[in-house]
């Protein structure tokens, strides 16, 4: 190495499988799942002084949905709770580089939702009014006005659009590394390539006893366990005899060759699940729903996605016809029937915390969910989400549905 090359920095996080230290015998908190949700909770807990944390990730960082999503971050929702949470999440993302020392390539180019029918226009108008009452700058536009924002769109056949300029996109991978490094620097320990195989409940005669989490690399005792395994969370919950209602749905996505920057907002078409944006590298990145799939954790890529997506893109932006597709991949949405996540402790199993069911938008919600989860577990007052988004709500039928879901 030539003298003027800077020396490699000291390793700080995520040693590979060969050189990982052994699991400690015990940790106050074991987080199952090194995705953005688990890492965000871990960093927040550590930040609040509860840094005796071990995070168990079955594969490499970004192997699951956290490393496979489109990086969108929006405040256009249909319920006040989600709007307010996402306003706070956007504010936290804007501070991410200052808080965690890594550039996540945030670009606030807005989200532009397109509606074809009068019913969909009504949906956008109603939600825009609610969003405006919360202080979000969403405007309902005519198709011509949408064309002023993205002149390349063929808006024939559309009835209206909704646009909020402060929504945006970011690059998912550094977001994970930022939380991981931040948590590790504060004392948390991250073990990748560590598969959870069994979980023993605390002994029946010891109400304050530890869980024992068995893994492919040994066992670890834990005062509390957090199930942040995303689409794999039902498998983890089953290890302690808890049945979760969230189910995995494959969503596919593609990336094109890089183009000169031209597209400011994320564009999405209601009802089809079509969304696309231009990344900071210039690629068009986006997906579309393939309806009628069975529940699966399979992440294989399919030609029928490529053809469906190509047709949807070329119809909306005819100039995309000449753009080359570079690659496609898939990741699982972790889907609940009411479109909201599952949080808190299941009935009868204290200190086993759920944080799953994020419907494909766990990435954008992680900053705010991690903050409130961390504050609660560090001894603070629980936010209302922990009363509302319980596992028990599914049995009671008290479901307040979030309907602003892409796909």
């Amino acid at each position: 190495m030539a003298p003027r090359d800077p020396p490699p920095p000291t390793p700080t996080a995520t040693p590979g499988p060969a050189e990982q230290p052994a699991l400690p015998a015990r940790a106050e908190t074991v987080v199952i799942g090194g995705g953005v949700i688990g890492l965000a909770i871990a960093w927040n807990l550590a930040r609040l002084g509860k840094s005796d944390i071990v995070i168990l990730e079955r594969s490499y960082l970004a192997a699951g949905a956290s490393g496979r999503n489109g990086g969108g971050i929006r405040q256009q929702w249909s319920t006040e709770l989600n709007i307010r949470l996402m306003q706070e999440s956007v504010a936290l993302v804007k501070r991410f580089t200052a808080d965690l020392g890594i550039n996540v390539w945030l670009r606030q180019g807005g989200y532009l939702f397109l509606a074809r029918t009068d019913t969909e226009r009504g949906f956008l108008e109603q939600n825009a009014a609610l969003q405006q009452r919360c202080g979000v700058g969403t405007r309902v536009l005519t198709p011509a006005e949408a064309n002023e924002i993205v002149p390349e769109l063929d808006v024939s056949g559309f009835a209206a659009a909704a646009y909020n300029p402060s929504d945006g996109i970011l690059f998912p991978w550094p977001f994970l590394w930022g939380y991981a490094d931040g948590a590790v620097k504060l004392g948390a320990r991250l073990h990748c390539f560590t598969d959870v195989t069994a979980i023993d409940r605390p002994p029946a005669n010891d109400a304050a006893g530890d869980f024992t989490v068995h893994t492919s690399r040994g066992a670890i005792r834990a005062h509390r366990v957090i199930n942040a395994a995303g689409a794999w969370s039902p498998e983890i919950a089953r290890l302690v005899g808890v049945e979760l209602p969230d189910r995995p749905v494959r969503h596919e996505i593609l990336s094109t060759e890089p183009l000169k920057p031209f597209l400011r907002p994320m564009v999405s078409v209601l009802g089809t699940g079509l969304y696309f944006s231009q990344s900071m590298r210039g690629e068009i990145v986006g997906g579309v729903s393939i309806h009628g799939d069975r529940h699966t954790l399979a992440m294989g890529s399919r030609l029928k996605f490529l053809t469906t997506m190509a047709r949807a893109l070329c119809e909306l932006v005819p100039q995309f016809g000449e753009v080359q597709v570079l690659r496609q991949w898939a990741g699982p949405y972790d889907v609940t029937v009411d479109g909201n996540p599952i949080l808190g402790e299941p009935p009868g199993l204290p200190r086993f915390y759920l944080c799953c069911g994020f419907m494909g938008h766990g990435f954008m919600m992680a900053p705010v969910i991690g903050k409130y989860y961390g504050e609660w577990l560090a001894g603070g007052k629980p936010h209302e989400i922990f009363d509302k988004w319980t596992l028990a709500r599914f049995a009671s039928g008290q479901l307040a549905k979030e309907t602003f879901i892409i796909g």
């Binding site: 190495m1 920095p9 590979g16 192997a63 399979a298 294989g300 053809t307 597709v325 496609q328």
Partner: protein
């Protein structure tokens, strides 16, 4: 010097970038791909994957035969969207599509 040796020409990833990634403790080829961006450009790894795999073997002492390539992302070569969107494109999709690709790609994707 290592800052001027290119290992991935599409994404301008240098030898130094890979060394930096290894120094941070990332060892798995999927991690190195994500941390450096190598193999995510127009060639999709056809030029650089072998080079980076050899580097990993050399620098970590792992046998080259133990380093699996990262998951191949279709299409095998870049395709203009209009060809995939054209009439008849859906006929390319066989009824076995789901099962066939899941078999090929496995659960790991």
């Amino acid at each position: 010097m290592s800052g001027k040796v290119i290992v991935c020409r599409c994404e301008d990833v240098t030898l130094h970038d890979v060394e930096h990634t290894l120094a941070r403790g990332y060892r798995d080829i999927e991690e190195v791909k994500r941390y450096t961006g190598f193999g995510t450009g127009p060639c999709q790894g056809k030029e650089c994957l072998r080079v980076v795999a050899c580097l990993l073997a050399e620098r970590t002492g792992v046998a080259p035969s133990a380093i699996a390539p990262f998951t191949t992302r279709p299409p095998i070569a870049s395709v203009p969207l209009r060809l995939l969107a054209g009439p008849g494109a859906e006929d390319l999709t066989s009824a076995r599509d789901d099962d066939a690709t899941d078999e090929d790609h496995g659960m790991a994707g």
